[in-house]
């Protein structure tokens, strides 16, 4: 046995333990809402296996720490102690702390830090054992009054971008005692100076109880425009290092753990997917079917008799069916239920609502909706932003709700569902809705709009997605958390999705995130244009029609319009767009496919429709270069290449042509 290194099992241990911690957290939250005693057992079991694993795999600090938690849980389990709020709180912090330990274990860093030692003492104190340290009380604050060393160097363009370091430094100074040392090493001569560029830098020392989060949030809007490093002051003794301070604990610590966790996860991204055994079984079944079909088709190779043609056709149809199912199943392996992302919200909502003195009921709907793993991993952070915003800015405190004639308890609903070829995630709150006036004022002040006149509610909603639109002053509290909605949108758009907002003044706000089901395969309609074949994504097709020549009107400037239902739509001739020489020219000889993207419609003129098919998307950029109006390529059954039409891109091109 001794020749086997245990490190190879670490990964599995980490994964299982993190799952165990999630289970512990869920159970604790359920207990908090008055769950039954069985939950205590499941919490105990999770803690117990983490302790056992930690001892086995060589993490004695973690084992010792978990041991204390286990002792406390044991007392509860045996009925020697009632489970009450302080204990649940303590255990939740234990879960956070263990997560931190696992992260450090993955990074090969020492496991214990000041906050874990402190928490261990508190656990021991709760168990009633002799405590080896002076601070025994739960409310004890760690000696976190050291501070931070901040190196801040704006890029040259930061001043012109409207961000003034002076304001940032003032905000920092409000967080504690700030010592400023300006760096003048890059300052040019008077003649060479462009006064709108920034050549200064600063070394800042901030002492006080400010958290890293609080400091980072000061720089939130400028993080792309400066070089920034925030380091804990090293003057103090090693243990009270970056300390997750206990007073700002629940939300702060949880969020901090969350962000670092995702960073750690992405760093070894090649990782693994856990697949349900039922999915594997269905794959094996399908492969079995394929083998049978293949054997059946094989017979025809030996002696083919035209009388058996129908059997051959049936065999081929079967083959097609199985291949498609197999493809779906294999894609399904990458699909994970969105519940794994939703799971973090009960805790977040609980901590945040407690901190803000609001009462929030969280409803989760559609947790079983499955999403591509890549999409799932990247949607977590934007969702956290939106949920945080909804609780902080959307939902009101009980008094205000009562005054508005609503119940004390606000409702926050997270709902995921399939809609067409997309996954839709909605974040709905029944709070106050967007504060139109405050947003407009802020936008005026920031110079995002010229005047408040004629601004529709939709446009007001759009404003909050503008970069640089900080909600900090608009909203009441949670200072510095004015979260970057532009970042939320950017993240979602990067995934090929979109975010929309709908506000009902007095009745709440709805954010709708639309995401593609998967990034690798699309359903498309193949259309012939001249000798070429183009794929139009099925999701964007409204319908296809044949137009008589007189239905099309030419307009000045060379465009063509046709009447579709109650609107006139422009026609985009794909053969002109992509330069196909031999295509049909007359409208009545071809077909018009009405497509829609971002709420705009156009008619694509093609020669003919060939059929519906799935297209495996190959990147055109990776293999050739970017082409306007084309989103990718795919290989057709006969081995030729077909280009996939980028409907949104075509509509943009069309709009640009119209403007020109």
């Amino acid at each position: 046995m001794s020749t086997i290194s245990v490190t190879q099992f670490h990964k599995v241990f980490f994964e299982e333990s993190l799952e165990g911690l999630d289970a512990m957290e869920t159970a604790l939250l359920a207990l908090d809402e008055g769950g039954d005693a069985e939950l205590v057992h499941s919490i105990f079991r999770a803690a117990h296996s983490i302790k056992g694993g930690a001892a086995t795999f060589g993490f004695p600090e973690m084992a010792a720490f978990t041991h204390e938690a286990e002792s406390l849980l044991d007392q509860v389990r045996e009925g020697r102690r009632a489970i009450d709020k302080p204990i649940i709180e303590l255990m939740l912090r234990t879960v956070d702390c263990l997560r931190g330990m696992f992260e450090r274990a993955q990074g090969g860093q020492p496991l214990a830090d000041a906050s874990s030692e402190e928490l261990k003492r508190q656990l021991a104190a709760a168990v009633g054992r002799e405590v080896p340290a002076p601070t025994a009380k739960v409310a004890a604050k760690p000696a976190a009054s050291n501070g931070w060393s901040i190196k801040f160097r704006p890029h040259a363009g930061m001043l012109a971008g409207g961000n003034d370091p002076l304001r940032l430094l003032r905000e920092l100074a409000a967080l504690g005692q700030l010592v400023v040392e300006a760096q003048l090493d890059r300052v040019p001569t008077l003649d060479a100076l462009d006064p709108s560029e920034c050549h200064l830098g600063w070394h800042l020392t901030l002492t006080g109880a400010a958290t890293r989060e609080a400091i980072a949030s000061v720089f939130e809007w400028v993080e792309d425009e400066c070089d920034l490093s925030i380091e804990p002051l090293v003057a103090a003794a090693p243990p009270p290092a970056p300390a997750v301070e206990t007073d700002a604990a629940p939300a702060g610590a949880g969020a901090a753990a969350g962000t670092t966790r995702s960073a750690a996860a992405s760093s070894n991204d090649a990782g693994s997917v856990r697949v349900g055994i039922d999915k594997i079984d269905s794959l094996i079944d399908l492969v079995g079917e394929l083998v049978i079909t293949q054997a059946m088709l094989d017979q025809f190779r030996e002696d083919f008799d035209p009388s058996r043609l129908s059997m051959l056709q049936e065999g081929l149809a079967q083959l097609a069916r199985h291949t498609r199912s197999l493809q779906e199943s294999v894609m399904g392996i990458r699909m994970l239920p969105i519940g794994s992302v939703f799971n973090r919200f009960p805790r977040l909502v609980r901590d945040l609502s407690q901190k803000l003195g609001k009462q929030v009921k969280l409803e989760l709907v559609g947790e079983h909706t499955e999403l591509d793993k890549t999409v799932l991993e990247k949607i977590g952070d934007p969702l956290v932003h939106l949920v945080r915003n909804a609780i902080d800015h959307g939902l009101e405190i009980p008094e205000k709700r009562r005054a508005a004639g609503k119940g004390d308890v606000g409702t926050l609903r997270l709902e995921a569902s399939h809609r067409g070829g997309s996954i839709v995630v909605e974040i709905v709150d029944d709070g106050a809705g967007l504060n139109r006036e405050a947003i407009i004022n802020k936008a005026l002040q920031k110079g995002l709009i010229k005047s408040a006149e004629g601004i529709s509610d939709e446009e007001v909603g759009e404003l909050i997605f503008q970069p640089g639109f900080s909600t900090a002053a608009v909203t009441t509290d949670l200072s510095g958390r004015g979260v970057g909605m532009d970042v939320v949108r950017r993240n979602v758009v990067d995934l090929g999705g979109n975010v929309a907002i709908k506000s009902r003044p007095g009745n709440g706000t709805t954010f709708t995130i639309t995401l593609p089901l998967t990034l690798a395969i699309i359903d498309g309609l193949s259309a012939g244009v001249g000798d070429e074949c183009y794929i139009v994504p099925l999701v964007s097709i409204v319908e296809s029609i044949q137009l008589p020549a007189e239905a099309v009107r030419s307009v000045t400037g060379g465009g063509e319009l046709f009447r579709f239902r109650d609107e006139y739509l422009p026609i985009v001739r794909l053969h002109q767009q992509f330069g196909c020489a031999t295509a049909r020219q007359k409208i009545e000889e071809g077909l018009v496919i009405v497509v829609e993207a971002d709420g705009n419609r156009v008619g694509l003129f093609v020669d003919e429709l060939i059929g519906q098919q799935q297209a495996v998307v190959k990147s055109l950029e990776a293999n050739y270069r970017r082409v306007d109006g084309i989103s990718g390529a795919t290989i057709l059954a006969d081995g030729s290449v077909a280009l996939i039409v980028d409907v949104a891109g075509i509509i943009r091109l069309q709009a640009r042509r119209k403007a020109a």
Binding site: P165, L166, L169, V180, L190, C198
Partner: protein, 107 residues
């Protein structure tokens, strides 16, 4: 920072006296930049910041660059007046010493 306002300096004919405008921020620093470039060779340089109400990093950076330019030529830049907002902003950015600002509200 010891002796800044020499009483006789302000009376010399070849003195360049520059008043910093009340609103001295990035949009308007171009003018000041031009004035300072013209003034840098004058034998005596006096800056008057008594009127300053609003000031930003761009303006203070410009003053720092000017100060260094003046020092490079072996001369000294004197302050005829420094308003509280100017002083606060310079201190906040850690530039008060470089700019040789008088302790607070000069005589």
């Amino acid at each position: 920072m010891a002796s800044k306002t020499k009483p006789d300096a302000t009376t010399t004919k070849s003195e360049a006296r520059i008043g910093i405008p009340a609103d001295c921020r990035i949009a308007d620093v171009g003018d000041l930049h031009r004035q300072l470039r013209e003034a840098v060779d004058a034998p005596q340089i006096v800056l008057d910041g008594a009127a300053v109400e609003r000031v930003d990093t761009a303006a203070l950076q410009l003053l720092v660059v000017f100060q260094r330019e003046v020092a490079k030529r072996g001369k000294q830049m004197n302050w005829a007046g420094v308003s509280a907002p100017l002083h606060d902003a310079a201190s906040q950015l850690g530039l008060a010493q470089t700019l040789a600002l008088p302790a607070k509200q000069p005589a």
